[in-house]
Amino acid sequence: MYNYIFLISILLITYYMVIVKRLPALVGGFRLQSLFLFLTTVSFAFELKEAALYIVAILIFVLKVILIPNFLAGITKKIQVNENLGLLLNPQLSILVALILTYLSYLFTFNVMPFTDKMQSVTFALTLCVILIGLFIMIFRLKAITQIIGLLVMENGLFLLAVTMCRGMPFLVEISIFLDVFISVIILGIFVYRINTLFTHIDVNKLTNLRG
C-alpha cells in the first residue's frame, strides 16, 4: 500500500520539477524525488526481505539524497550565475507536455508491453513517464546544470524500474552503476565549471561553435 503512495508522490514531484523556474528549486525537487525513491526501495526491501535491497537503499540515500544534491547546490552557489532556468517552454505548456508524455507512456505500456499483472503495467507506465520527463527537462531547459539534473531524473526512473519490476539488478551491477553515476556527475560538474570560466555563462543553447 505504501508503495503506491510513494510511487504517486514520485510522479507528482516530477511534475513539480517541470514547472519550477529557479535552479535551487529544481535541485530541491531532485532531492525530494530521490528521498521517495529511497522510501520505495526500503518498503520493497521490507516486503521481499532482501538484504541487498537495503544496501541499495542506503546508497540511494547517501548519494542521491545527500551528496549529489549538495554538490549541485554548491556549484550553483559558487558560479553565481543567473538562477533562472531559462525555460524554452513556459510552465503551463511544460506541464501540458508532461501530461501528454504520461498519457503516451500509459498507451505504450497498455498496448505494447504484454504484462498480465495490472499493477505491473501501472508501475512500468509511471517509471517510463519519469524517464521521458527527465529527457524533457534535459532538452527544454537551457542551463548546463539542468541537463545534469535531467540525466539524474532519468536515472532515478531507471532505478525505480529496476526495483519495482525486477527487485533490483544483480548486486555487483547495481553498485557499479551507482559508482558510475556518481563519477559522471562529478565529471559533469567539473565541465560546468570549465564552461563557466571559458564562456562566462552556462547556457547550453549558446554552445554553437561546432556545426555541420
Binding site: 505494447v112 551491477v173 570549465r194 564552461i195
Partner: protein, 486 residues
Amino acid sequence: MILLCILSIPLLFTLAPLFVKKLRALGRLNAIGHLAVLVTVFYFALNINLPVKFFGFFYVDALSVFFLFVISVVTFAASLFSIDYISKDISGGFISEKKAKFYYALFNFFSFSMLLVPMVANLGMVWVGIELTTLASAFLVGFYNNKNSIEAAWKYIIICSVGIIFALLGTIILYYAVSCVATTKTLNWHEIAPLAKSLDANIVKIAFLFILVGYGTKAGIAPMHTWLPDAHSQAISPVSAMLSGVLLKTAIYAILRFSIITNACVGVNFTSNLFILFGIISLVIACGFILVQKRIKRFLAYSSIEHIGVIIIGLGFGGLGAYGALLHIFNHAVTKSFMFFGGACVVKKYKKDNLNVIKGVVASMPFCGVMLVMGMFAISGMPPFSIFFSELFILISGFSQGRYLVCGLFLALLAVIFGAIVYHLSRILFGKKPEELKAGTEALSTKLSFLFLLIFMCLVGIKVPVFLNKIILAALEILKGINHGL
C-alpha cells in the same frame, strides 16, 4: 590468469606517471606496455581453449578475443604515435608537462575500460564498462580546454549518457523477461542465451529496440551520431584515432551480444532489418556531410559514420556479410587510425586544419604524404587494400540474397563517398607547398606507428592472416550457432 594480465597492465600503467619523471621515457614505457598487451592477447588467442570463464564475472569467447585483438592493435599504435605527438605539443606550448602526465594516465585508463567491455560476462557490467569508456575519454576530448573542445566534450558526455540510459532501460526490460522464466535471476549473457527461446518475444523485441538506439548512440549510428564529429575532431589526435577506431566498436560489440539473444528468441529477420535500415541511414547522412566538410579531422569523423553504416549493413546481411562486417571492423579500425595519425601530422605541420587552405603535403612531408596517399585509397575502398575486400564480401552476400535495392544504394553511396574522399584529400596532398614551410620528416616512433598499421592494411588485403581468419570464423560460429538455438 593471462586475462587478468591483459587488464592489469593498462590499469597499472595508469599509475606510472606518478613514478616516471621523464616524459619521453614515460611515452616509451607506455608503448612497451601496450605492446605487451597486444602480445598477451595474441598468445591468449592462439594457446587457450575458448571459452574461458572465471569468478563467474569474466567470460571470454572468440567474439571477445576478436574485439580484444582489434582494441590492442589500435591502442598500441596510438601509444607509439603519442610519444612524439605529446612532446611536440609541449614544445609548441599547447600543454604543460603536468598535463602530459595526466594524458598518459587517462590514456591507460581509457584503454583499460575498453578492454574490460568484451571480457565481462554480465550484460549489466557491459553497460558499466561502456559508461566507463565515456567517462575516461571525456577529459581526453576536452583536453585542450578551449571553447571548442569543451563544447565538444560536453555534448559528447551528455548525448552519450542519455543514449546509454536507454540502453540500460533495454537491459532492465530484458532482465525482467529473464526473471519471468528463469529460476535463478541472472544477467550473464551465456546463461541467458540458452533460455532465449522461452522468453516473451514482444518484451525482447522492445528491449532490443532500446538497446539498439542506446548503444547505437555510442556506436555513432545515424541519426544518433550528432556527438561524434565534434568529439572526434576536438579530441587530442591519438585519442581521436582510438575513439574512431575502437570505441565505436565496443558499442557494436554490446549490440552484437544482445542481437544473439534476440535472434534466438524472435528470429533473424527482426534484427537484420533494423541493422540494414540504420546502416543505410548512416551511409546517406555520412555521404551528405562528407561532401561539404572543410576540416580534415571532422571529415575523417564523418567517414567513421559511413564505415559504421557499412559494418551494420554487413551484420544485417548475415552469413558472408557478417564475416565481411567483422573483417571490416578490424580493417576500419586500422585504416581510420592510420588516417587520423596522418591528419594529425598535417595539422601539426601546417598549424591549420582547413581542407581549402592546406596545399602540397606530399612535397612538404614526404613520408607522411606518401602514407596519406595510400591511406586515401585504402579508406575509400580501393584494391589492393583491405577495406575493398571486406566491402566486397558484404556486397556479394547482399546480392546473393537478392537484396538489389539495398546493394544498389550501398554501391551508389560508396561511389559518391569515394569521389568525395579522393577530391578532398588530393587537394591537400598535391600541389605546391607554401614557401615558408621546410620539408621535413617525422620521428622514428611516429613512422613505426604508420608502418605497423600499414602492414595490416596491406596484408589483410592480400590474404586474411590465418590467425585472424580463425578468430573471425569462430566468432561467426558464436553469432550464428545460437541462431539455431545453441
